[in-house]
């Protein structure tokens, strides 16, 4: 173990496919560059203090650098300062930290990505009608950004489209299914639904399937086998995907660069894409999908 470079990544989650894809990217980079990483995250995105404890334990292990996806950027500042004082570079990933400590931030613009989803939705339902959102979380950064990105775009650009309901399914597929079914029951004339992460999107697909309605245009977020299958079969019109593997890869890469004292850009944007039946098999898209 001695002399080996150790880079712990403290993420916002662990079990979700999105975070597993980030981990895959990080593992790839670690292998290529010969460093050891760990990847950890709390059970859900509300557990801010659990994440702080994870960060504290990571610091105890004399890391070479740290990757950190802050659930709440302010809460972690004392520990980040501690890392800074110890000369441990910090790379923020997924969302930024309100501080100049991180050497760089590898992220995607969730607001812009969700706005794109709104544009696509408007296009598919013909610029007018009723839509609803099944979001994964009411308080986490990603949940808020994706919801608000979608809602604000709808409000500012598409006055003919009414967002009739925004409800939350905790990213749990079963719960999201029940939420989507209730929305469909309350709004039999719904034109479209947007799910803000994999669990929410699959929940909507399940609900549409179980209710037997086929007039609803579904737009999802992230990938995963069930989602890509739904797109291929036409049950889902399309989805936004980020590049989680890229986020993980770039984070580790940037961490090593920072350890070597290299200059880094303020933000490393790993980009997002809209994919549907037409482009799902493109190489560029396939590279960022996970299942």
């Amino acid at each position: 173990q001695d002399g080996e470079v150790f880079i712990p990544l403290i993420s916002k989650g662990f079990q979700h496919q999105f975070w597993q894809a980030v981990k895959t990217g990080a593992d790839q980079a670690a292998e290529e560059m010969g460093v050891r990483i760990t990847f950890e995250g709390p059970d859900n995105e509300t557990m801010v203090d659990r994440q702080i404890d994870m960060l504290a334990a990571a610091l105890a292990n004399n890391p070479g650098a740290i990757g950190f996806a802050a659930l709440d950027s302010q809460a972690a500042i004392p520990l980040l300062r501690q890392a800074d004082e110890a000369g441990i570079p910090v790379i923020a990933f997924d969302s930024g930290v309100d501080s100049d400590i991180p050497a760089t931030t590898t992220t995607t613009d969730n607001v812009a990505a969700a706005s794109l989803a709104a544009d696509k939705m408007a296009e598919l339902i013909g610029g007018a009608g009723k839509v609803a959102v099944v979001a994964h979380d009411q308080t986490s950064r990603t949940g808020i950004d994706r919801r608000d990105g979608f809602l604000n775009r709808m409000e500012s650009e598409y006055p003919e489209i009414e967002v009739v309901s925004v409800q939350y399914g905790a990213g749990d597929q079963l719960q999201s299914t029940e939420v989507a079914k209730a929305i469909l029951t309350a709004n039999p004339d719904l034109n479209g639904m947007f799910g803000t992460n994999e669990g929410s999107a699959i929940g909507i697909v399940n609900a549409v399937r179980e209710m037997g309605t086929d007039e609803v245009t579904v737009i999802g977020y992230d990938s995963g086998k069930a989602q890509t299958d739904a797109i291929r079969s036409g049950e889902m019109a399309g989805a936004i995907t980020q590049n989680p593997v890229g986020i993980g890869y770039e984070t580790v890469k940037a961490a090593i660069a920072a350890m070597n004292g290299e200059e880094l850009p303020e933000v490393i944007d790993t980009g997002f894409y809209y994919y549907d039946q037409s482009n799902i098999d493109d190489e560029e898209i396939q590279a960022v999908l996970y299942d």
Binding site: F14, Q15, H16, Q17, Q20, D43, Q138, V164, S165, Q167, Y168, D172, Q173, L174, T177, E178, V179, K181, A182, I183, T185, A186, N187, P188, I202, N206, R209, E210, M211, G224, K225, A226, D229, D291
Partner: protein, 334 residues
């Protein structure tokens, strides 16, 4: 004050009616009040399709609640049902998707895995004298971790076993009586409930369930091998959890290894709302079923009304307290 367990044999229907009127009147009344209230508040609530949606939403939690009821009647508690359900689903995924065995093996694997996990908890409790809370909390964590390990932290899909999603979504009943398109999942819930109620009220196992919860030491001093019976009850509960694992896996057409945490509290809440006492010795399957229905109606109704999520939580909390209070009021004079 009285339990269903000791009634004299009567016709099933009259017993059901009696139970509803004598026993669960107010839990049942709360259910009716909720249904009426929501129907008035939203015209979309009282549709066949939504009623079916509610029943389907009850199915997983209902089956879990039935499993937990058995354990709670013995005076124990089972915190592991949520992650155990996931674990059985993952094992089913291994059997069907990784090994490619036929459907029946998957079904048997789920139930056998559940029974095995249950008997482990039971052994911890009965033989090692570990308090049920801790034994099943430990099991909860162990099974949660193992689900992730075995599945490689990714969902296992059942796309190679086409019949699998019919377990919960298909409608055998709907094929026979087109007017009654009840999904199989709901039918399975009712069958599990009927079987569990029969076991609880008509067999030795059920009798010892109540007796252990009532006064374990006295049962032991009656020369009964209490440890063995206790393990059997936990194993039966585990097998029922296996059925819940099948239902959820079939409904999601996948085993989601990260799911499961939090389901235990919901199941226990359904049981307690249904009038089963957490101190053991008293309780009924019918009550737990009604409890699970109350929770499903409440959640669905508030969502159909598009109540803001944060207020949904507040209202749910308040109604749970009120429903149980109403039930307490009724019992007081006795």
């Amino acid at each position: 004050m009285t339990t269903l367990s000791t009634d004299a044999p009567k016709s099933a229907l009259s017993r059901l009616l009696m139970a509803v009127t004598h026993q669960k009147l107010l839990a049942f009344a709360s259910l009716i009040v909720l249904l009426i209230g929501f129907s008035i508040a939203s015209p979309n609530f009282m549709q066949t399709s939504n009623m079916i949606a509610i029943l389907q939403a009850t199915s997983v939690n209902g089956v879990l609640a039935i499993a937990v009821t058995l354990v709670i009647i013995t005076g124990g508690i089972d915190l592991s049902v949520g992650t155990m359900m996931t674990f059985t689903a993952v094992i089913t995924g291994v059997v069907l998707t990784f090994l490619g065995l036929p459907l029946l093996f998957g079904v048997m694997a789920a139930i056998a895995t559940g029974a095995f996990c249950g008997s482990c908890s039971g052994t911890f409790v009965a033989k090692m004298k570990i308090p049920p809370f801790i034994a099943t909390l430990g099991m909860m964590l162990i099974l949660k971790g193992l689900s992730l390990v075995i599945s490689g932290t990714r969902p296992i899909y059942f796309n190679d076993t086409p019949g699998f999603s019919e377990i919960s979504r298909g409608s055998v009943l709907g094929e026979v009586f087109p007017a009654l398109p009840l999904p199989n999942g709901v039918l399975i819930l009712f069958i599990v409930a009927a079987v569990a109620a029969y076991i609880l009220n008509r067999t030795v196992l059920g009798r010892y369930c109540f007796a252990l919860g009532s006064n374990e030491e006295s049962v032991r001093l009656s020369g009964v091998n209490t440890d063995r019976w206790k393990i059997a009850i936990y194993a039966l509960a585990g097998a029922i959890v296996g059925v819940a694992g099948l239902l959820i896996a079939s409904r999601l057409n996948s085993a989601q290894p990260a799911l499961g945490l939090g389901y235990e509290l919901e199941a226990i809440a359904a049981v307690v709302i249904g009038g089963t006492s957490l101190s053991g010795g008293r309780g009924s399957i019918l009550g737990s079923l009604i409890g699970a229905l109350i929770m499903a109606v409440l959640t669905n109704g508030l969502r159909v009304l598009s109540v803001a999520q944060e207020w949904q939580t507040v209202v749910t909390g308040a109604i749970i307290i009120l429903a149980v209070y109403a039930d307490m009021m009724r019992r007081k004079p006795s």
